[in-house]
Subunit: 350 residues, 2 copies
């Protein structure tokens, strides 16, 4: 481990570690009050702190006042929905949040939850975690009350999701509106005019809704109107994307492009289009959202909007730690990037 | 949620949930003694259990004797090694273990650890988790003593890794030896004769070593001997794979194939070969191990050995839960599958 440059003669946690005969990370855990440090080690570290007259900052008072040293991640997805896989976008977020926690010296308690359950009461009452990160798709209006109760109970929480004017909590999300606009402007530039939108488009699902509003805005700026007949509800699964395309086709609507509100929906849509003999992008241009790893290796590779999950994980953990330290934290939106791949290059194939 | 078919008149946890006015999963948590259920809810569930004369099985005694309802996952990887990403194989395992825990109603506490640290003492002393899963590459001989202490302390643990005759713990691993043999037989069938092996080949790294022994056995059966000059150490990173190829080339050794002990090593090797003007598979056939998602979309797509991470996650969680219930659990090896892709099709390109 590389030692940081230090002020001359300043006692650091490395000196404490050396004196106590433990690793620096154990000192760091002990100073944070982690219960992972056993009592004997804790006493040895406390003794070294006193001998060396180490300037203990306010956090170090947790040598006596125990913290959990743990952040909780509540993943809202039905674990029985698909027997084998986590939604790849959430898996990527899980990895980046785990890593960001580790870099801050925290453990991460991962718990699958269903939005309908009484998780807000469960987590407010326990000392398992110093704060919680909420991650997952779901009906926002149905769980906003629980978020409010969580805030009232004084539970520190940060949510991955849309930034909304009336939200009771702090959220970090990506700029879904800009992403929806970018995709739609790109499809319009390809010459597409009848662009379908697959995904819930209501305030119940604010992330998808913001993507929809970006889509509608781009259409309007091009002198077109968003056509209700070209919108089909879908949740973020391949099956749902497949069914949404079948719904559109059953309506007898003609469309030259599909903007799916997530990559999983797009991949399901691709399968449904192929099953009906429609080729992407020759017959229908296609774009998704998220840039999950699969997006670049479906055939044709999928145009999509990159949400930077590494940055997102770091920002969520950072925001939560600042809340825990009692700082004021503002909700924030991350920029997104359009990734153009072959699935949307309609003009070139005609 | 689908209710299970039940015996006539038999009281189930769904009846308890209905009576207590909570969800079935909350009843299940309470019966398991999870601290996530607050005291008032726990009392209500206890009252319903008594009113309905619910046959409480032995686990339900934890209504009084608290369990954590949590399994810990210790990930041995340096979180500072690469600022942004978890090794993709471990990320996939993290996903499948998280999901398997959820399906069993457990939370998962994820903690990055370094092998050199005193994690064995930390985790033995706390009541944070009912048992631990150990996951990660590292020098086995350097941490075997810690595993032994863990076992002596009575900590329930299961390790992802090689099954070894002298191991102090229970492990679940894949059949690395068979995987190594399959890859090598495939490369031999392509006509390759000078097959390099990239990866540590010693008892310090038993998974890589088993892959090496499978490789050596296949060579021997083909009347060839494993040539020390064609082996180069590498840990499971792209950088290490890149450097291993440079080591081989600096030795002036000729080789017509490379078997990398992991996909990350293989991808690094591919970059190094390309940088030296060597084409895969025309000049050098290449195969890896793991079948990480990236393997199928590098160019050329990588021949590799699939370790079924979904099954592995389920088996690890299942083995640990059986240990926690006091059952005798045997170490086990999962079968592997050779995935032939273009990177190894040497014969066809010549």
């Amino acid at each position: 481990m590389v030692q940081p440059v230090r002020e001359k003669n300043k006692i650091t946690s490395f000196d404490i570690a050396h004196r106590a005969g433990v690793s620096q990370s154990t000192v760091s855990r002990a100073l944070r009050g982690s219960p992972l440090v056993n009592e004997e080690t804790r006493r040895r570290i406390q003794a070294a702190v006193e001998e060396l007259n180490y300037k203990v900052d306010k956090n170090a008072s947790s040598l006596r006042r125990k913290h959990s040293g743990t952040l909780a991640l509540l993943l809202f997805e039905d674990p029985t929905a698909d027997e084998s896989h986590i939604n790849p976008f959430f898996l990527s977020m899980l990895g980046s949040i785990t890593r960001a926690c580790a870099q801050e010296g925290y453990d991460l308690l991962v718990s699958f939850q269903q939005l309908s359950h009484d998780w807000h009461a469960d987590y407010a009452d326990t000392k398992k975690a110093d704060g919680i990160i909420l991650l997952g798709y779901g009906d926002y209006l149905a769980y906003r009350d629980k978020l409010r109760k969580l805030a009232e109970q004084g539970t520190r929480s940060v949510r991955w999701g849309a930034v909304l004017p009336d939200q009771p909590d702090v959220s970090i999300g990506c700029d879904n509106h800009a992403g929806g606009r970018m995709v739609t402007e790109h499809l319009l530039a390809q010459g597409c005019r009848r662009i379908a939108f697959l995904g819930e488009a209501s305030t119940h699902y604010p992330e998808f809704f913001a993507r929809y509003l970006g889509y509608a805005e781009a259409l309007e700026q091009a002198g077109l109107a968003a056509d209700q007949a070209l919108q089909a509800d879908a949740e973020s699964t391949e099956r749902s994307g497949y069914e949404a395309v079948e719904t559109l086709l059953a309506r007898g609507e003609r469309f030259d492009a599909v903007f799916a509100a997530s990559d999983l929906i797009a991949i399901g849509a691709l399968q449904a289009l192929n099953a009906r003999g429609l080729q992407v992008p020759r017959d229908v241009a296609l774009a998704g959202f998220d840039d999950i790893p699969m997006a670049s290796f479906v055939n044709p590779p999928l145009t999509t909007v990159l949400q930077d999950t590494q940055q997102a994980g770091r920002l969520l953990v950072d925001a939560l730690l600042r809340l825990i330290r009692g700082e004021v934290v503002e909700s924030a939106m991350l920029p997104v990037t359009l990734k153009v791949r072959r699935s949307s290059l309609w003009k070139q194939e005609r």
